[in-house]
Symmetry: C2
Subunit: 418 residues, 2 copies
């Protein structure tokens, strides 16, 4: 049940655009029990695409090609595929009519570039006769080839609605493939490797993967088998072994994120939260409000970049700023207490630090970050030092801050600072 | 001067991780005048990697392999490469000593998994004898193969410090390759295609690319030639043709972003800015503060999710909220005026809207967003409707908001709303 993905476009081989489509297709295929054995990016070049298609047809059960179906001059996949498969280009009337009516709705005429999209290799059939995107498929030597547009939304839509169901219909005997992802924060990759060192021999056929996803680390467990029940049981057994070694650092599983986990905990306990952000500049608020329904527990925040704003908006005492500086536990604590009053929330999270690249001193180098959490009658605070670029410091500071809330609501100890 | 990139790891072929390394390497190579003709992702699988390496050696002048050099059990690139190239694995003493001393610094013992990293195919040489990462290279039939670790920071470091200089030394005659990127906001891809419709025939040898980068659209101009001067002149000529057709929508070039452009304009004019964010939840503040040095012009912001916070923190009148609702021009305008006083800035930007997926009504469906900009003695406002997911609405709303500032400071008209 193995197949290949071929993605075309000079934008990918020249590095000017990061791939989204092959990544999406690979994830969906894997989840559905298919195995992607190779992903190839080729430029808009006859030789390369032709050779890649030919080789893929030699050893795969299916091939998915994305990109190059559009109206602009660099969209040449139809033509190359026709030549590589030695089939003439034919006008697909159905596709032609659909493009025409779609253009008319947008007040546009049918032009030669638009018409070009409807010329596909002989024997092709439209993937979605009702929709507005131009994907098609054909079968060569019993191997289905799917041609999908490069626009991510259209590609995803066709992938989910047509390609996956069609593949599942063609290859009914597909075995069960299950994957679990454990997301960790607070351990480095070598630390994780060390803790899992004695695990080998206890993982059976479960395939483990270790993926740094800055500032997180992810562990994946994958298993292929004949029935879903025994696959799930075996995965649970190995998951338990892993949790015994690094469980405290696992903050989420699967598609959950730090912010969705924090949101669920706040909802469950009926608590509200606000933020006071200095060096993270609104990033924590942004992350919290990425979760649909966050307005139920997130009351708002204050972004205070200057000392005067810290005093005027959050009531941080000028004496505190003078004695300890803006980047200090004391200031973070007063920011949290001030924010909680201003935003009338049960809890307040405050962050102040030096994101860099400038502004560091010997006592407070770039990456120094103080967090404070006002909750109940207490205020917790801690000092951390994060390495890396401005963006990396913001990433780490916001994740550590959200992890503070998670750990507090779970009754777990905070990660130690410096 | 063409080469290939091969990236290993089941995490990529299974779609569990999005590629960063091939993307980076391709971009750097392209900028340096090399041409990447193919990028291949293969799983941690002997057959596939072996075949891919063999084919790459047949038709490329150089090959870059990333991933699988680490200490965990799925790191098997060294072994596969040795077998594919028919060379025995040998212990690299220099690398061994470096790994050992690095481990000791972190309080760790030398273990068999760590030692494994120092066993490389015969004839290999370390890429960075001083550093802490395990990259190496070897030459097979005059073709250099570079093996780089999968950790993005290490990979990037070796790429920039060793691989690129080495390639440039080996292939001195590399021609000049120049690329320009025009970044547009406010036109759809078909609208851009329509406006550039008459351009064909006037672009000479300049290769045009069109890339939707939601919510932006990018146009790239690439040209390869023998001398930098004539390549630059020709690119400028074509750029001018394009700007004549879509110039007003070009907000940035190259590595510049909407937020860096806005930051530069504010700095040049010596003006300060603050934000009042509802549906964007801090995202605008986050974007503005991603720019190093933004503390010079960004004074801070307020994230107000609730009506009461809009009144308490920004002085929005309860009567305004009752009469027009929280999502209205009137509320946005009062938010901007209130924020400017609170944060003592020259200008204030306010956003209020419905990011979805819930909260929409017939009069104000999901995606309805009101913007206001208080600047000088005036307050400008506009109503927009954005399609898509919660994340997409936030993306569009924040970009449109930043574009408001850019257009105001440039003396350009705002994009029309609804």
């Amino acid at each position: 049940m193995h197949g290949e993905i071929v993605t075309t476009g000079n934008e990918l081989t020249s590095g000017s655009v990061q791939d989204q489509n092959a990544w999406y297709a690979a994830g969906r295929l894997t989840a559905a029990g298919f195995q992607v054995v190779r992903i190839t990016f080729v430029g808009d070049d006859f030789e390369m695409l032709s050779e890649t298609l030919t080789r893929a047809l030699e050893r795969s059960r299916f091939v998915i090609v994305t990109g190059g179906l559009g109206a602009t001059s660099d969209d040449i996949t139809n033509e190359i595929a026709a030549r590589a498969l030695n089939r003439p280009l034919c006008l697909d009337r159905q596709m032609f009519d659909r493009i025409k009516s779609h253009a008319r709705k947008r007040g546009m005429e049918m032009t030669p570039p638009l018409e070009k999209m409807a010329w596909t290799p002989e024997g092709s059939r439209m993937l979605n006769p009702e929709g507005s995107s131009c994907g098609f498929y054909l079968v060569e030597n019993r191997i289905p080839l799917y041609f999908l547009p490069g626009v991510p939304e259209e590609m995803r839509n066709l992938m989910d609605k047509f390609v996956l169901p069609d593949l599942q219909e063609r290859f009914r005997e597909a075995p069960v493939m299950r994957r679990r992802v454990l997301k960790l924060y607070g351990l480095t990759e070598p630390e994780i490797a060390q803790r899992l060192d004695d695990l080998s021999g206890r993982t059976g056929n479960v395939l483990l993967g270790f993926y740094p996803r800055f500032p997180e680390n992810h562990i994946t467990l994958s298993l292929r088998g004949d029935d879903a029940r025994s696959v799930a049981d075996e995965l649970s057994r190995v998951e338990e072994e892993i949790r015994r070694r690094v469980g405290g650092y696992v903050f989420a599983m699967g598609k959950d994120t730090m912010e969705s986990v924090v949101g669920r905990l706040l909802s469950e306990k009926g608590l509200t939260l606000c933020v006071a952000e200095s060096c993270t500049g609104g990033f924590i608020g942004h992350r919290l409000t990425n979760v649909a329904g966050s307005s139920r527990y997130f009351t708002g925040g204050v972004i205070v970049y200057s000392n005067s704003a810290k005093t005027a908006l959050l009531g941080v005492r000028p004496g505190t700023l003078r004695a300890h500086g803006a980047v200090s536990d004391e200031t973070a604590r007063e920011m949290a207490q001030g924010a909680r009053e201003v935003h009338d929330a049960d809890m307040a999270l405050a962050v102040t630090g030096i994101a860099g690249p400038e502004g560091g001193t010997r006592e407070k180098p770039v990456g120094t970050v103080h967090l404070a959490l006002a909750a109940g009658r207490e205020v917790f605070s801690g000092k951390y030092r994060f390495r890396g670029t401005r963006d990396q410091v913001k990433q780490n500071a916001s994740t550590m801050a959200l992890d503070y809330i998670r750990r507090y609501l779970n009754g777990d100890p905070f990660l130690p600072g410096i």
